[in-house]
Symmetry: C2
Subunit: 240 residues, 2 copies
């Protein structure tokens, strides 16, 4: 399944007790359609308030419905802030999480003294001037293969390696809107928002390039600035 | 005042009993700031659910606050779906409604078989294919000075002339999104949405160009198709 959602009113992807989540809504829809309790496995957890244009999930089930029928039936059982955009039969052995090779996130910033009512759910409002040239220099330092432990949420129970590869990291401006596109082979918990938080501090000239190197090599979350708010983040695409 | 708003949760611009409106919120903010009951006069009423990037309003008052202080004070008293973007001292005799020379509206359509959670508050979801060439031919017929009574809400209590001049009317596509920009020297009640409703019917090939001429010259609301939904409409700019 390829799934789009407006994450504003959800406690993220993963099922939680007594709190609405995207996974829960999809599993409820799958149950309403098939009469069975199916597990919907996502490519990755998105945090509370994060959006997706192209989240991917898989379901293991023998169904009589074809992909197009299943798509329509699921959407008929989903609220209007979640939409299944594609359903395809996956090859044997497919796994939405383990087979993901590259993920593309987009982060949106409104860089203007005044907030915007029309962009308030999807953009981080940053009233201070940002120097894009500085942000791009910092982006160069973050691209490639690094240990990103400094960008991983401290309380994260993630075991194993914190080494990931950022394959592209681009900062662009169009009028008052700044877009940061981040692609990588994997993301630690809070990593995308941590990178944006750092780039913005560099853009505000509160952190310089030497500090970026120090933060990255320090491998300690406490060195890095606050991560950017969830509402600006959008999971755009996942390559398999 | 230049005012941006997300109209989703409002019953339009104009003050009504027991229903939240943009004018009401601005007048409440003005009262909180000045301690006085001031009338906030808008350039035009926007309907329930219509958005604005550049609504204009005036207030007549002798205040000690300068324009920038007033802007900050008003915004501190407004909800996050309304923002005053500019405050300037108006010249003597200025009137937000009567001195408006040209208004620019933008209408946004999502032209895709599936709805989009992220665009659902700002785009009309139109799942059927639309032929832009046809819509543009129809737009040519609507441009210029005409009696637009066929695009005026039937129940409208508008007196006086229904003659208005559409100075530009452009239809463009970018991916799945279609944008219709309409500028004119004035708009009758529901006229912008009526024009979009007609263009979409032409784009679906349910109405042809001969019918467009007939509808326009018929001067009767019952001849025209249903008007487009409010959520796709945005009042972008007003020239004085």
């Amino acid at each position: 399944l390829v799934v789009e959602y407006d994450g504003t009113h959800y406690y993220g992807w993963q099922v939680q007790d007594h709190k609405p989540t995207i996974q829960q809504k999809l599993e409820e829809a799958a149950r309403a359609v098939t009469g069975r309790k199916l597990r919907v496995v996502g490519a990755g957890r998105t945090d509370r308030g994060v959006h997706a244009l192209g989240q991917v999930a898989h379901v293991r089930a023998a169904l009589k419905l074809g992909p197009q029928q299943l798509l329509r039936a699921l959407n008929a059982n989903l609220p209007d802030d979640i939409c299944v955009r594609e359903v395809t039969r996956a090859p044997m052995g497919f796994h939405a999480q383990y087979r993901a090779r590259r993920k593309l996130y987009r982060y949106s910033i409104l860089n203007d003294p005044l907030p915007s009512p029309q962009l308030r759910r999807t953009h981080w409002h940053m009233p201070y001037p940002l120097k894009l040239a500085r942000m791009r220099q910092a982006a160069v330092l973050l691209r490639g293969r690094h240990n990103f432990r400094s960008f991983q949420r401290a309380a994260s129970s993630h075991n194993g390696s914190s080494v990931r590869r950022i394959t592209s990291l681009n900062v662009s401006r169009r009028g008052k809107q700044i877009t940061i596109d981040i692609a990588g082979n994997g993301f630690l918990y809070n990593m995308a928002r941590g990178i944006v938080g750092l780039l913005v501090e560099v853009g505000r000239a509160r952190i310089d390039l030497k500090d970026v190197k120090r933060i990255l090599s320090g491998k300690d979350r406490r060195l890095a600035p606050k991560c950017a708010p969830a509402k600006g983040l959008n999971l755009v695409h996942i390559h398999y």
